[in-house]
């Protein structure tokens, strides 16, 4: 405890004398902490706890019965008549949009007569206060009515209200018969009777899922086997909530990659803490000498500097906590939208700043600060008291073993190359990440040699081009090689990550743009206005396509149908189209490189499918392999005719001929229509005709161009959070540069004062600092661009491929990169403005004579 007083006086108090620099360091840590916290909180709320929306009001059942295309209703009868004391709850599960508010909600069809009696029984056992909030007096009388619905309380309806719901392509009118408490909207849904839901969705004779409550003995696994044996082959019995687990598994790569991206700011922050503590050590060498001479042990000195870093970490965590909570709100919105459009319907949970979050913030804040400060703190503890006192203030640059570090960098670079060629481990690109980390470390080690080589070659040239200030700035950077290297390392790491992600996203975008050219061959596309997402496929009314096909100017109508299915414990999309509709294709979209016509001809009326690239990657399948699907009551085996590139979703897709699909799943209603306009017909005229023909149906019609624009909009939104994370990392780095330049001005005040004695004008002193900032930015941009290019190759060909299974064709997004690098460069120079102002305010008389 007694050491706390000198610790405060010698280590903490001096921090208050440089409030700007101290604040910048704390803010840099705070931003790093807040970003990680925000992604963690948002992940927990938006993706981590991703209960499937369909688990709403699912209760505490043990097992569920599912199959692709819906479970035949007779299975309910089979289960109910089994000689087992099990509770059977069939459900219809889809989505409805409230017509007024456009809010999309799960639509749950329950056997309300059966469930209602169980519900009434449980309500009567509850204390009065917790009973269902608003149930009309005769609510149970309306259980079986086709227009009765029950809604969550957060929707604000009362019993007796009329609500219009858009279901598939039709608007239906319903009466609210009761309101149930829905945990602030987290369990909000539209509930109606099973038969009413089947009617609204035109899903006759099938239910989407049957929930089963089984006795405690024997085990649920045993029950699963017993019940499976009693059911048709295509119907699967599995633990309830498997869908949620599947979602989590599917989202694992997405969350994992996002979380890793959030660590970039921390890495950059670590560089800056290292720099701050290094400066602190060098400045205090005489003090260290004196304190050592007065009896302080090496351990005390080490602890003092580690303690200083911990103070930064604690302060950073304290600021980062509320900041992270605030950022999480925006992150949840972005993540939810991405998850919804690319993966699965979901409902973000509540963002909770709990004890775990607080612990995480402090653990990363203090952990990163202490870890990055350890090396300079250890160096401080090695200071010899005699040397430190005799030599007084030493130049910052102690010694940098450039040659040795360069060799290590080379070895690490080679190791990174080897790691990048290794396969995924447990489905995760762990060695890809290792390769990226090795490259970042190799770059950090190579930077001193790079800085020295470049400054020694360019200083004279810079002097000639930009004047003596540039020569002095360049020499000063080379002389403070360690400090310069750490700053360039920090900024270049942020720039490299930005460049790498920029190249990866740019390449991905370009790949998608090229791919889309052949994906949308029709002129117009039609889909129900009902709620749509990656896993929602609302259908059009039967017969609509035939009406459209008869219209003048319509050459052909292609019916597309999609189902949400489960394949080997992972969600996937099963789709079909009319393969007899003639199309014109320009490119092959297949791994085999065969013409599209040839591949699709193989699918016609046969048990052959094509599968998407992410699907093959997830399930380790290839062209020529077979796969078995549960379709309705049967299990059917299909040959994989080829593999197609698909960038629309990471879920994985299986595609077959419509006729083949109808053999197993006879529901003829299409999910989408692709409409081909006759040659010579005017698109606008045909469109108007279709609009007339679809009066009474709620449909959305898009032109080919609209759909492409929408796809690109979703694509850009998907990566918005990535850009946000990159931006924070760059902000942290630029703040670090500002703080470091400030330290540099303070440490070099004697030199800056001397220049004024020698005739330097104030504008020259200002220019000197700004040129130094500019040089730092330039060096960081060059190093960052080189490292970023290498990292982008790992991102595109290793991490992305092993995480998501997409083949991305490399593309330089030159405009975006140039724009981003220019902004970063300008920000770096901007960061020098305040330090430059401090430099010109120094009194030359005081600073030159103070030693």
């Amino acid at each position: 405890m007694t050491l706390l007083v000198p610790f405060y006086r010698l280590m903490v108090r001096p921090l208050f004398r440089e409030p700007v620099r101290t604040s910048l360091t704390i803010l840099a840590i705070a931003l790093g902490v807040s970003v990680v916290l925000a992604i963690d909180l948002a992940g927990g709320a938006a993706a981590g706890s991703f209960r499937s929306s369909m688990e709403t009001l699912a209760g505490d059942n043990d097992l569920e019965v599912v199959t692709s295309g819906g479970v035949p209703e007779n299975v309910v009868g089979t289960l109910a008549t089994l000689p087992y004391p099990i509770r059977v709850s069939p459900r219809i599960e889809d989505y409805a949009v409230i017509a007024d508010t456009k809010k999309s909600l799960p639509l749950i069809g329950l056997d309300l007569v059966a469930e209602g009696s169980a519900f009434a029984q449980s309500e009567s056992q509850k204390p009065v206060a917790s009973q269902t909030q608003d149930v009309s007096e005769h609510a149970f009388e309306y259980l079986g009515d086709a227009d009765s619905i029950w809604v969550g309380s957060s929707l604000g309806y009362r019993a007796g209200d009329r609500v219009e719901l858009l279901i598939n392509d039709q608007v239906h009118s319903y009466t609210v018969r009761g309101v149930y408490p829905d945990s602030n909207g987290n369990e909000s849904a539209i509930v109606m009777d099973l038969a009413a839901a089947q009617h609204a969705l035109a899903r006759y004779g099938r239910v989407d899922r049957i929930l089963l409550k089984v006795p405690e003995t024997p085990s649920p696994e045993e029950w699963q086997q017993r019940l499976q044996a009693a059911l048709p082959a295509g119907v699967e019995v599995r633990p309830q909530g498997t869908g949620t687990n599947e979602n989590r598994r599917m989202l694992a790569a997405f969350r994992w990659n996002l979380r890793l991206l959030s660590y970039i700011s921390l890495v950059v922050g670590a560089f800056l803490i290292y720099n701050t503590i290094s400066v602190s050590v060098v400045r205090r060498r005489p003090e260290i000498g004196i304190v050592r001479a007065l009896g302080a042990s090496k351990r005390v000195i080490l602890s003092a500097f580690v303690g200083e870093a911990a103070c930064f970490g604690i302060a950073g965590a304290l600021v980062g906590l509320p900041l992270g909570r605030f950022m999480a709100t925006g992150a949840v919105r972005l993540m939810s939208a991405t998850v919804e459009s690319l993966y699965v319907s979901s409902r973000p949970g509540i963002i909770e700043l709990n004890a775990g979050s607080v612990f995480l913030a402090f653990a990363i804040g203090v952990g990163v600060a202490v870890a990055s400060a350890y090396s300079p703190a250890d160096e401080a503890s090695q200071v010899s008291p005699v040397e430190a006192m005799a030599r007084g203030r030493r130049e910052y640059d102690v010694h940098v073993q450039k040659a040795r570090d360069l060799w290590i960098a080379l070895a690490l670079g080679l190791a990174a190359g080897a790691a990048s060629r290794a396969p995924a481990i447990a489905g995760k690109p762990l060695l890809g990440y290792l390769a990226a980390i090795l490259l970042v470390v190799a770059s950090a080690l190579a930077i001193p040699a790079f800085v020295e080589a470049l400054t020694s070659v360019s200083s004279k040239l810079l002097g000639k081009l930009l004047g003596i200030e540039a020569l002095l700035a360049s020499r000063s950077l080379a002389a403070s090689l360690r400090r310069t290297s750490v700053l360039v390392g920090a900024l270049s790491t942020a720039i490299a990550m930005m460049t790498a992600v920029g190249i990866m996203v740019g390449s991905f975008r370009q790949t998608v743009v090229v791919w889309m050219e052949d994906q949308l061959p029709a002129d117009l596309y039609l889909r129900p206005a009902g709620s749509a997402a990656a896993d929602r496929h609302p259908t059009l009314s039967s017969g609509l396509e035939e009406e459209i096909a008869k219209l003048p100017g319509v050459a052909a109508v292609d019916r597309l149908r999609a189902y949400e299915i489960n394949f080997e414990n992972m969600p996937a999309t099963l789709a079909s189209a009319d393969l007899n509709v003639p199309r014109v294709y320009h490119n092959s979209d297949f791994f085999s490189g065969r013409p599209k016509e040839q591949v699709l001809a193989e699918l016609r009326d046969s048990n052959a499918v094509i599968v998407s690239e992410p699907f093959t990657y997830k399930h380790h399948l290839k062209a020529g392999d077979s796969l078995t699907l549960s379709l309705g009551e049967t299990r059917a085996t299909f040959r994989i005719a080829d593999v197609y590139y698909d960038y629309s979703s990471e879920r994985g897709g299986i595609f077959m001929d419509r006729n083949t699909m109808l053999r197993y799943l006879p529901d003829r209603a299409p999910s989408n229509l692709a409409i081909y306009v006759s040659p010579g017909a005017q698109l606008d005229v045909v469109r108007t005709e279709i609009e007339k023909a679809t009066t009474g149906h709620r449909v959305l019609m898009f032109s080919n161009r609209d759909l492409r624009a929408e796809a690109i909009r979703i694509f850009d939104r998907t990566f918005a959070i990535t850009y946000a994370l990159e931006a924070v990392a760059v902000i942290v780095a630029v703040m670090g540069i500002a703080g470091a330049l400030l330290a540099l001005v303070i440490d070099r005040r004697r030199e800056l004062g001397l220049l004024q004695f020698l005739g330097a004008a104030t504008r020259q002193v200002r220019k000197l600092i700004l040129v130094e900032a500019g040089l730092l930015g330039l060096l960081a941009n060059l190093a960052g661009l080189a490292l970023g290019f290498a990292l982008s190759l790992i991102l595109i060909y290793v991490i992305n491929k092993q995480s998501f299974g997409w083949t991305i064709r490399f593309h330089w997004p030159i405009e975006i990169l140039l724009g981003a690098l220019t902004v970063v460069y300008a920000a770096t120079v901007f960061a020098g403005l305040y330090p430059a102002q401090v430099a010109v305010r120094l009194s030359p008389v005081e600073v030159v004579h103070e030693e």
């Binding site: 003596i468 002389a479 005739g759 020259q764 004579h849």
Partner: protein, 225 residues
């Protein structure tokens, strides 16, 4: 006309809110070619007087005239021009930039003044201080005496009218210090420069034409030889 004229110059500072009288009513004229030594105890005002003479600081009252121009009347640009053209500084701890070579250190004032091709002038000044051939070395490759010679060459690079030296031998051994003083005296004579040197050393003071003795911020005695 004297190159430097101090007329009833006083300088007060505020230190922690308390006024400190650094110089009181100082009057002194220095001519070209004159070698002035200022002596006195630490804190007597020697460095303050040098800073006023070099227009790095300004009097609280009175006037400092450099070549007939009052330093207080000059704006920033005029002061910068004055430093670039008329004044050379030499410091006790040499104040060389360790990132620059000897040539580059010597050239620095000319480069800051925007002059091109200063190498010949630097070579000439290094010859004056007998350091021919050492121009490409860095300061850390020189002895203390050599470093101070470089500092003198730098101070002379723009042929200043007045050379201000603050304890130029304070960090040197007696022999080397003697050589530096001899060099300063020779250059003052040869270049017709006025040199004002603050020193504690009686040996250094004995070489000057004029001895100014300061005490508690006042001139106690002026001895011209």
């Amino acid at each position: 006309m004297p190159i430097l004229s101090l007329q009833e110059v006083s300088k007060d500072y505020l230190t922690d809110g308390q006024p400190v009288h650094a110089l009181s009513s100082i009057s002194l004229n220095v001519e070209r070619g004159e070698f002035v030594a200022m002596v006195g105890r630490s804190g007597c005002g020697k460095s303050t007087l040098l800073n006023l003479a070099g227009a790095m600081d300004f009097p609280t009252s009175g006037n400092v005239l450099l070549d007939g121009v009052a330093t207080s009347s000059l704006k920033d640009s005029g002061l910068t021009r004055l430093h670039r053209e008329k004044i050379g500084f030499i410091f006790q701890s040499f104040q060389l930039l360790h990132t620059l070579t000897v040539f580059e250190n010597v050239e620095l004032p000319l480069l800051l003044a925007g002059k091109s091709n200063p190498r010949e002038a630097a070579r000439e000044r290094l010859a004056w201080v007998e350091l021919d051939g050492l121009g490409d070395r860095y300061p850390h490759q020189l002895s203390g005496g050599q470093m101070q010679r470089v500092a003198i060459a730098r101070a002379l690079i723009h042929s200043p009218s007045i050379l201000l030296a603050d304890e130029p031998t304070g960090n040197l051994d007696t022999t080397t210090g003697g050589l530096i003083l001899e060099l300063l005296r020779r250059l003052t004579r040869e270049q017709n420069t006025a040199t004002i040197m603050a020193t504690h050393s009686p040996e250094a003071a004995s070489l000057a034409n004029t001895l100014v003795r300061l005490r508690d911020g006042r001139i106690q005695e002026i001895t011209r030889r």
